[in-house]
Symmetry: C2
Subunit: 303 residues, 2 copies
């Protein structure tokens, strides 16, 4: 059924999927495409990022998004609003950005403070400016295989997989985690690639046995080191979306994924490290989506 | 992993899932709900069905839909247009029906004649009147688990499964076929029920082996008698969406499904016959969706 070997030499080590290096290549390409787009249309893509409240982690994410947008040659607009912002005020701002021809992408940083309905707010963004791809129109376009804007993290995973594997037709992909943000769009993307797709989640009875069938295993659960070495089919490609900060015995802080890396690296064929795997791809894909959004708006192009 | 037995007595026969009887019950309930809705709001739900061209099978389907709508106590409007109808003419009609307060559901019978873009036309129907659930907004609502209108055939399969099995949490469902009309929405519905879901399709390498893992097997491929008895896990629930007209040796015409029924009935725990299984549920679900659409429009209710 699989092209991979079931016996591995004892010294086997999976090759590492270097998301950091690949994301740098993607960002460089976007920078060139942004310049070409400007030459052709006299327009610079613009991204508006909205942050409500004072969550420190969100502040870091938003700042990084703004800086990388700027580095990619695009215009970056930050809207930092107090925790007391009402839904009406936020919807008014989104309405204004929807109508602003200098803004091609709008992103509302999640999570939102209590009292703000994330679903209603996400859906208020025009589908062609919804660079997070989280609105229902873009979710629908993905589900029925139409051009649209795909959520950044699963898009990043897909780009890594295409780069590593090329044609994935007929491969069995198992996605662990069924969130709207990662698991479900990831499953639909892999289906569109021609993979046989299994989605496992909190109610799944024997996730380990299912995982062992995977030629491609994507893990996005938020449970650190859930996937052990013996959950992995020898030679499989493993994409670890999880990222949790933890403390070592000596009290040092360290980032770990949803896969027990030290075990998995002895069994998998290819694996993303944490950090430096999927993470850097997410912002690169936000930049890509912003450019795609600008192209859709200016050229009527759908990618 | 499964609650079903792996050894069956030689005389084992699956119990038949009587879609015809269940659909009659559903239609009766809808009839009562339509009356109650009228009593409460003074409004009778109305369904507009549009047929373009002269495909004889489509004419039969459209006529049956109109009659059953009428029998359910709703208003039924048929628009039969010549094959020469332009996309602009069709879009103008849809625009008028979108704005007509007497019309709560709009259905364009597929397939459309060449030259008419089914996707553009389906998306022109207001999401709250899109009773086939095929527009991108309803597809997106299903994908992210929001209330919306679900395509009739997978909704019918889900209702049969809920009636037969109750809680499906943790069951492994395998869907064979990945169409926008049946396979993909079916997979998303089963995921929302808490099933572990595998989607197999034309590129899948060993569909038989995957099918044998299924506690719930839904087959929607259009390949007659593709699924053999030995593809089925003993005791599994089998839903056969396929329906193909074929000729017996004596020249008589006969309907067959995607499952080799005579073999499957000896292995499965429960199985839908063809005809009389899924088929009758599809129109019943169209009526249900029309009532749901009217409720959403009049009561602001989302189901």
């Amino acid at each position: 059924m699989s092209s991979t070997s079931h016996t591995l030499p004892p010294e086997h080590q999976a090759s590492l999927i270097d998301g950091k290096a690949f994301a740098a290549t993607v960002r460089q390409q976007i920078r060139e495409d942004v310049l070409a787009f400007h030459d052709q249309h006299g327009v610079t893509p613009g991204l508006a990022v909205i942050l409500v409240g004072n969550d420190p982690a969100s502040e870091v994410y938003v700042k990084n998004k703004a800086i990388q947008t700027h580095h990619a040659g695009m215009r970056s607009f930050m809207h930092m609003l107090p925790e007391t912002t009402s839904e009406t005020e936020l919807l008014t701002l989104i309405g204004r950005l929807n109508n602003d021809p200098e803004i091609h992408g709008i992103l509302v940083q999640l999570p939102l403070p209590n009292g703000l309905d994330a679903r209603r707010i996400t859906n208020a963004i025009l589908p062609e400016k919804d660079v997070d791809g989280l609105g229902e129109v873009n979710a629908g376009r993905l589900a029925v295989n139409l051009p649209g804007i795909v959520p950044c993290t699963p898009l990043g995973c897909l780009m890594l997989l295409r780069d590593q594997l090329g044609d994935m037709k007929g491969q069995h992909a198992v996605v662990i985690g069924a969130s709207n943000l990662v698991g479900k769009p990831m499953a639909l993307l892999l289906l569109a690639e021609g993979c046989t797709v299994t989605i496992a989640h909190i109610h799944t009875r024997d996730t380990a046995a299912l995982a062992r069938e995977a030629d491609i295993l994507v893990v996005a659960t938020g449970c650190r080191e859930l996937v052990r070495g013996d959950w992995i089919k020898p030679g499989a490609t493993v994409i670890d979306v999880g990222i949790t900060r933890t403390q070592t015995a000596s009290g040092k802080s360290r980032l770990v994924g949803d896969v027990a890396f030290d075990e998995a690296v002895k069994i998998a064929g290819r694996i993303t490290p944490v950090p430096g795997g999927v993470g850097p791809m997410t912002i690169a894909c936000l930049l890509k989506n912003t450019l795609t959004a600008a192209q859709m708006q200016i050229e009527g192009k759908t990618e």
